[in-house]
Symmetry: C2
Subunit: 200 residues, 2 copies
């Protein structure tokens, strides 16, 4: 064996010890509150990937999409194939600059939150995805305190994923895991429109 | 209508114009190369969410997982339900600190790349996910030039998603869209182990 290969083996053996010690320290289970924020591409799709993960483990999943996009989406078409496993609700009326009506946006947000709250109290749902909830909170369309209280009081062991740019600091504080997705570059800026299977 | 509601409507109407102009400028279609990097949670799950999107649009998908995790994963169990639509290959031998053998890691990477290359040349696949390829490139287990050349020569219109921390600058340069997922906080650091449906 070459000396550099031997050094590699020794370095990796030390790393294995470090990793094993960290894993040993992380021994608790918990229903996680996960927040995906930032302006980069990948927040909602990450939530949809976790739905696939959860379904693979035999869990049931609830989804509320707070902002309805301009297109019908692939994820909605796909997950509607499994009505026994995924309760999929598209509640929003459209982007705020499309509706241009704050009262209507508020009413839509209230109705969506009632649906979300029922899911948070449903012990059959192992995972609840609240897609673009951050946008709704950023615009003040729902009282933050009520949302935080309902999230805190959710059924034991349930995982919740909240997506959308501009997450409120109080939500970040409450969350267990938070990722901020930064935009390094985006095809849209090079004149390429939203692509099926990637953006919607 | 209250004055503040009127201001909201006017502001949103202006925003709608700006958005419409941007959308009008983005008129091209292209098979995208998307890179998801950074140390935060959500890169691989985002790729798996795009698989759900693509399947919802009737596309076929290829997946190569370059690093096999310690657990059997929910996403693998789930997407294997659709063998006609998803060609799912788990090729890696495990984390580098588990194998501790650079030669074996290199050979595994070479075999995985042969599988990936065949997918990149297959016009039936609308989306190819190369999960944790960045890790393999970071360790130098595959020649970067060959990987970049094969990505550039892929079948027309195909989308490719590459995940993993530490993306090489040359790959970022080649990519159309790049997101960097930063870790704001993570449950693991609070003593909570990897959770089913979220981390695997």
């Amino acid at each position: 064996m070459a000396p550099s290969d031997e050094r590699h083996r020794a370095r990796m053996a030390r790393k294995q010890e470090v990793v094993a010690a960290k894993v040993a320290r992380a021994s608790r289970d918990k229903g996680l509150l996960l927040v995906l924020t930032g302006i980069g591409k990948g927040k909602s799709s990450s939530a949809f990937g976790m739905i696939a993960r959860a379904l693979g483990h035999g869990m049931k999943v609830g989804v509320v999409q707070f902002i309805k996009g301009a297109f019908s989406t692939g994820e909605e078409a796909f997950f509607r194939r499994f009505p026994e496993e995924v309760d999929y609700r598209v509640m929003g009326e459209g982007f705020t600059w499309v509706t241009q009506d704050r009262q209507r946006d508020r009413q839509a947000a209230e109705a969506a939150w009632e649906t979300a709250r029922a899911m948070l109290q449903n012990p059959e749902l192992g995972l609840v995805v609240l897609d673009e909830l951050n946008i709704v909170l950023k615009h003040g369309y729902l009282p933050l305190e009520r949302v935080l209280a309902d999230l805190s009081r959710r059924t034991a062991g349930q995982h919740v994923v909240v997506t959308g740019r501009g997450a409120r600091p109080e939500l970040i504080e409450l969350a267990d895991t938070v990722s901020e997705v930064a935009n390094v570059k985006h095809a849209f800026a090079q004149g390429i429109r939203a692509q099926k299977g990637i953006e919607f």
